[in-house]
Symmetry: C2
Subunit: 424 residues, 2 copies
Amino acid sequence: MISTSLQPLPGFRDLDPDKYALRAYLSRTWRSVAERYGFVEWEGPTLEPTELYLKKSGGELPTQLFRFSDQGGRDVSLRPELTASLGRIVAANYLSYNKPLKWFEIGSCFRYEKPQKGRLREFVQFNADILGEGGAEADAELLALAIDCMRALGLGASDFVVRVSDREAWLSFATRHGLTPEQTPDFLAVVDKLERDRPEVSEQKLAALGISRESVMDFIQNPPNDVSPRYETVLAELQARGLAEYVQLDLSVVRGLAYYTGLVFEIFDKAHSLRAVAGGGRYDDLVSTLTDGSLSMPATGFAMGDAVIAHLIEECPSARVLRDAALAPRSCDVYLALAAAEMRPQMLLLASTLRDAGVRVDLPLSTVKLSRQLRHAERLGATYTAIIGAEFPSIELKRMATRESEKLTLEELICALIPHRAAN
Amino acid sequence: MISTSLQPLPGFRDLDPDKYALRAYLSRTWRSVAERYGFVEWEGPTLEPTELYLKKSGGELPTQLFRFSDQGGRDVSLRPELTASLGRIVAANYLSYNKPLKWFEIGSCFRYEKPQKGRLREFVQFNADILGEGGAEADAELLALAIDCMRALGLGASDFVVRVSDREAWLSFATRHGLTPEQTPDFLAVVDKLERDRPEVSEQKLAALGISRESVMDFIQNPPNDVSPRYETVLAELQARGLAEYVQLDLSVVRGLAYYTGLVFEIFDKAHSLRAVAGGGRYDDLVSTLTDGSLSMPATGFAMGDAVIAHLIEECPSARVLRDAALAPRSCDVYLALAAAEMRPQMLLLASTLRDAGVRVDLPLSTVKLSRQLRHAERLGATYTAIIGAEFPSIELKRMATRESEKLTLEELICALIPHRAAN
């Protein structure tokens, strides 16, 4: 029976080492793929002036903020996403950076939403952005990165799909149908909800704008051939990379946030039984908005959270195998067991020597029977146990998996263990 | 001229990739040493019920909280430190863990203090704890870890010192001088401030407790031989490991927080010109406090922040050299330059092939003159540039440091680059 006061807040997570291992695996994979793509890591503050988010985002984000007054009376918020800080930092140091920038961040974000499957109040987001390139080739580079992150996690074309859309296609649709620029955001909001709203509801909302639901559905289902030249470029770039099978044009995707300006995309599990795994797109106006128009910089980016992807991995056998291999406990290369108390100084010196050489060593921190030490070594997942007894410097080295053991001199032991670690 | 609205909040940091590299270096080093010591990583929530900190800590911590009501009316705080969450998690899952636990965390903490050198409102803390072992051997293991973290950063015995003290020595001093248990915390608070308060102030405070400042100073300067059996054990354990030169007994250290119970320590730069680099000690009562006495678990731990250590590294040549080597930009193994636009698909396929093999590849994302591409490759710190032109699949590979270049076939190029990355 656990006292409620020992629980984390609703929507927040206690990651003990067993649970943390999954987060570490995701971060390691994201980082490694991003680095192969030439992206470099950055980190912004966890807390920002609330103004930053009100300036940037329309939509529901402002209502989901962990927002408060700090002790100095500042109106501050825990970051709900990472792009606003990115825009702020790039705008503040505009001249000192070589363009294009290819930056990524892995960090906690906070939204006050109802906790449910794949949705938490504190979650980790992997964010990758290219700033200073306006062409569709940059969108393609970003899409390729997103796809390769999925592939690196063991997910294939039968597991997920990248649905790509183009806001500009919708803007010309809106113009052709006589909408004013003021009406366009409302119109996009209706399109964004098409899949979730009941048909009658969408129909009514669209009628108020003078547009038939039929014409919208037809535009989505039978898009004109030349609807998005940008998408054509992206497709060609992905084809050349061997990654075209992962994407499809899907104009029903428009992304909620008001600040997207061009190509947008979302990654879904193939069965579409989960929320979006990742989403992003082009946001060419952010730097300009943050600097009241005095600077301008094209930009494109995406974010992938750690919650939905964890569910998708669980559902895909090939991804599950990779994950389980990465999560197997291997925190200890060798456990030094002490069979003769008077040899403790010798054991400690050996521990220092091995640790200095990069071997992961554990050892008893109080007087414990040898059998209990061996059991503890087993639970730690130690590869070896070295038994230091009265016959030191002769040492028994036991391979835990096979129970094989051999008598070694101190020098032989050190030689046996140091390359083991280096080979990992 | 940067608009104030583009600045982070006071005491918060914008870490662009150049600045982030230092944080990554510290985290990498802490993680690597902790793993060699058999510690495993965990992560708690950034936000906790405020009650958790009020329960745990006396001292000034409660006045420094970023504390607010969330949208559900909960009294919550950004974590000012990591140990309270650790105690909570361990208490909640008490039975499911094998003891002893050796856990570490690297995460952001928040304190509303006046920002100054080595003191920020958001900082990163490396926290390492051993739970479930009450003996001084566990304190020694932890001290050895702290020392080896310093050593791994290039800091030696001439750069820092670990000042170790024992609260129990002070408790018996207090008893011998007739203090009641209620008076003891006030007494320890005076001792804690001895170095910072003017002598008259300490004298007056101590007189109110019926103790002369002289007797306290004498106890610190000439501690009795048997003042701390625990320290004797720690010293013997560190001697056996070859690490005794880094520590000294210094009873003037008592640590501010009320919850410490036994050995405590602080790491200072040798010149003592900076704030403490790290601090910690034994806190055997935390789990009991959090469970209102229903569970109990001995514990010892320490924390090292990222701000003071960064200043110390800057002041020590050997540490500076290691840091600079780790921070040198090497985000790109090969830049693929495009000299003939029609070869873009071939370039993209080559990029995919190399990236799949783990090579860090960058490439042009728009049509740019070759000379500008080469300049960009140089700024990225690319090791190689491969020039893809009309004569593809013959490719010119240029080593950027030496300007040497050679003509290779596609296969030769791939063979030349893949082992390069693997060797890194």
